[in-house]
Amino acid sequence: MSKFKVVHYINQFFGQVGGEEMAHIPAEKRMGPAGPGLAFSKQFGDEAEIVATIVCGDSWFNENLELATKTVLDMVKEESPDLFIAGPAFNAGRYGVACGTICDAVKKELGIPVLTGMYIENPGADMFRTEVLIVSTANSAAGMRKAVPVMAKLALKLVKGERIGASVEEGYIPDGVRRNFFDKKRGSTRALEMLLKKIAGKPFETEYPMPTFDRVPPMPAIVDMTKANIAIVTSGGIVPKGNPDRIESSSASKYGSYNIEGVDDLTGETYETAHGGHDPVYANEDADRVIPVDVLRQYEKEGKIGKLHDWYYSTVGNGTAVASAKKYAAEIAEKLHNYDVDAVVLTST
């Protein structure tokens, strides 16, 4: 019976090229297993073998995402493997992101099972847990001995197409899919034990983490609008014509601050939308439809509001990560504070 062919991805450190000072090396392929691959090989026995190992510098991967992903993908394709594994990355952030990224790409491009492993707090975990199975490991390489057998076992299940059990059974980070399994004790006993831990202030693990709804309590209403300094903030992606800051049409990696001093009206010649999530025709014709500069300016002239703030802040909300949105909002809020802005008209599409 032929063995399953596996390709393994590791970073410069586990590939024994060097530490941080060698993180810039581009991807290179070696035949056979290397580094932790040797431990994997032992676990795989005669069911699977690592035919090639790709060693790649963490910095090189993260700073050249597109090129690196393509390069590694091509290397993987050459081997026509049945299975692809990466890491484990433990708590190394860039390594974790690289593992997640390349696993996701291999899964989507080649349609073969993929598996990686990292510490639950590795940024790569949050980013990729719903796309790729990630075995939960300790936060340092000291956890290698424990991680490899768990990863190997799960990897073999994946490549054989066997049923994957619940996250606690198989040892992977919960991936957003609820799976049933039979625990050792009945629910009432589990509840009692959980309660005893909770009472004693000991750590316990809930069987179902509640979804978090980020609630923001609203500020008190403006008392006198005629004196208020109003600013415009938008995720509608309105930018000066030509999109000088190159804000992306989706998954925006930045926001822009644009001066509208003396601007009474946004026109199709001066402004446009960068938003890729809807038909842009009407927004491009007249960007006031997304951010009401014309109306606010009129209110300002009529004394209905105190002032329209000289700057507006814009990003594209389409597919933008909550974490990114939070980051931009925090920075924009600081600017608004510095300018003594009283209230914001926040628009989206």
């Binding site: 609820r178 009692l192 179902y208």
Partner: protein, 427 residues
């Protein structure tokens, strides 16, 4: 309250010329048992069948599962307010025919659910595949009113279980356990001072036809949250009128054998001070929910609880009550663990509950009821397969030509029980 429970283990059931329990075997003479059942004009026909663990039998559609018990000493009779007078139960001595159940089967409405498989994959998901089941199959007359027929079927099951329970009155139990619940004054005794004061909040289904629960015969819909003793529950003070969904409705058997009550009593005086049980309802009217959950929190406060386990029954509407009860207790500084089940979709990706709050940080789950399973074709059906396609969790074509069934766990009695009866969980 103090109740001595004598368990008589039943190892088999067979039909015979008389009704008795001999050497652990229940001998059933159907005629005298069926007489009171058939007196009800709404019941056209009824008969008994026997299902033994391991047999290739599928029982469907199941209405209720009831354990035969009998009061030997102490006030009242089992199922007070339903089959016996309303006198308070929970003290003295009660005998239980353990290892068996009376299962009522037969349609009440056109869509049905409730399968108990005695062998195969389906058997793994229900606790009732491990019991010797005496199945009472009933058929309604033409043009019946659903509410009335449901009541008739419910009473028929309880009466039968009580009648069979009577057979245990004079028997010598195989095992005796004494259960004792403290009075409020006793709960403050010196000896238990350092133990956490723990309560159990039991939520009862109370929304209407096929969604009701009765406490001493009172419809839980019209109750205010109140206390009940663990031992009263063991004497059948709470019975089920709930038929939806098969997977998470609490059968009368679940109430009689409430696992939370048993687990808390087992460590009472050692790890915890099990102060008492609060029962509350799950009405559809919002102000009732607010009132009931406020009342529950108020009682928990009166009892100076440090912590509580909360169990619910049902889907959707009860999730709101569950979160209300949980958050109100937590805000009073009472630590909670809640037990629920999930409807996360067949792919397991949907939001599992219909309500949520970050204060509900300690959850035990009975599993995802939407998981699809294929139940093998079995040799014999007790009841009828007519409704399997139209059941909750079933679908057109659910019943395959070879007799196997492809359906969600929702269809199996007790599979995702929210009292924590089973070992099944999910992550």
């Amino acid at each position: 309250m103090k109740l001595e429970v004598g368990y008589i283990d039943i190892k088999g059931i067979r039909f015979g010329d008389y009704n008795a329990v001999e050497d652990g075997i229940l001998i059933v003479n159907p005629e005298p048992l069926l007489e009171p059942v058939l007196e009800d004009p709404l019941i056209k026909s009824a008969h008994f069948e026997i299902a033994t663990p391991g047999e290739s039998i599928r029982i469907t559609p199941v209405k209720d599962v009831i354990e035969p018990r009998v009061k030997v000493e102490g006030g009242g009779g089992v199922f007070p307010g339903m089959v016996s007078k309303v006198d308070t139960v929970g003290s003295g001595k009660t005998h239980v025919l353990r290892g068996m159940a009376v299962v009522t089967a037969g349609p009440i409405v056109g869509f049905q659910e409730g399968i108990i498989d005695m062998t195969g994959l389906g058997a793994e998901y229900t606790p009732f595949s491990k019991l010797h089941n005496l199945v009472l199959v009933m058929e309604p007359v033409e043009n019946f009113k659903q509410h009335e027929y449901e009541a008739a079927a419910r009473l028929a099951g309880l009466r039968t279980a009580a009648a069979i329970g009577e057979l245990a009155k004079e028997l010598v139990p195989d095992e005796t356990v004494v259960y004792e619940t403290p009075s409020v004054a006793e709960s403050f005794k010196e000896e238990w001072k350092d133990l956490p004061r723990v309560g159990y909040v039991m939520m009862l289904q109370s929304q209407g036809l096929l969604h009701d629960t009765y406490v001493y015969g009172v419809d839980a819909k019209r109750t205010l949250s109140t206390m009940i003793s663990a031992t009263e529950v063991m004497d059948g003070a709470i019975v089920s009128g709930n038929c939806v969904s098969a997977c998470d409705k609490n059968t009368t058997y679940h109430h009689q054998n409430n696992p939370v009550i048993h687990d808390l009593l087992a460590v009472h005086g050692k790890l915890i001070n099990f102060v008492g049980t609060i029962i509350t309802n799950e009405n559809v009217y919002l102000d009732d929910k607010i009132r009931s959950s406020d009342w529950t929190a108020k009682m928990a406060n009166y009892l100076s609880l440090d912590a509580a386990i909360i169990t619910q029954e049902g889907f959707g509407n009860p999730d709101t009550d569950l979160i209300m009860n949980c958050t109100k207790l937590e805000k009073q500084g009472i630590k909670t663990v809640i037990i629920t089940d999930e409807y996360a979709g067949q792919d397991g990706k949907s939001q599992s509950l219909a309500d949520a709050d970050e204060l509900a940080n300690a959850v035990v789950t009975g599993g995802n009821a939407n998981e699809v399973v294929v139940l093998p074709s079995l040799d014999r059906v007790i009841g009828t397969l007519d409704y399997v396609d139209i059941v909750a969790g079933g679908h057109d074509g659910s019943l395959r030509p070879d007799g196997s069934i492809e359906a969600e766990l929702q269809i199996i009695i007790g599979s995702t029980n929210e009292m924590g009866f089973n070992r099944m969980s999910a992550r």
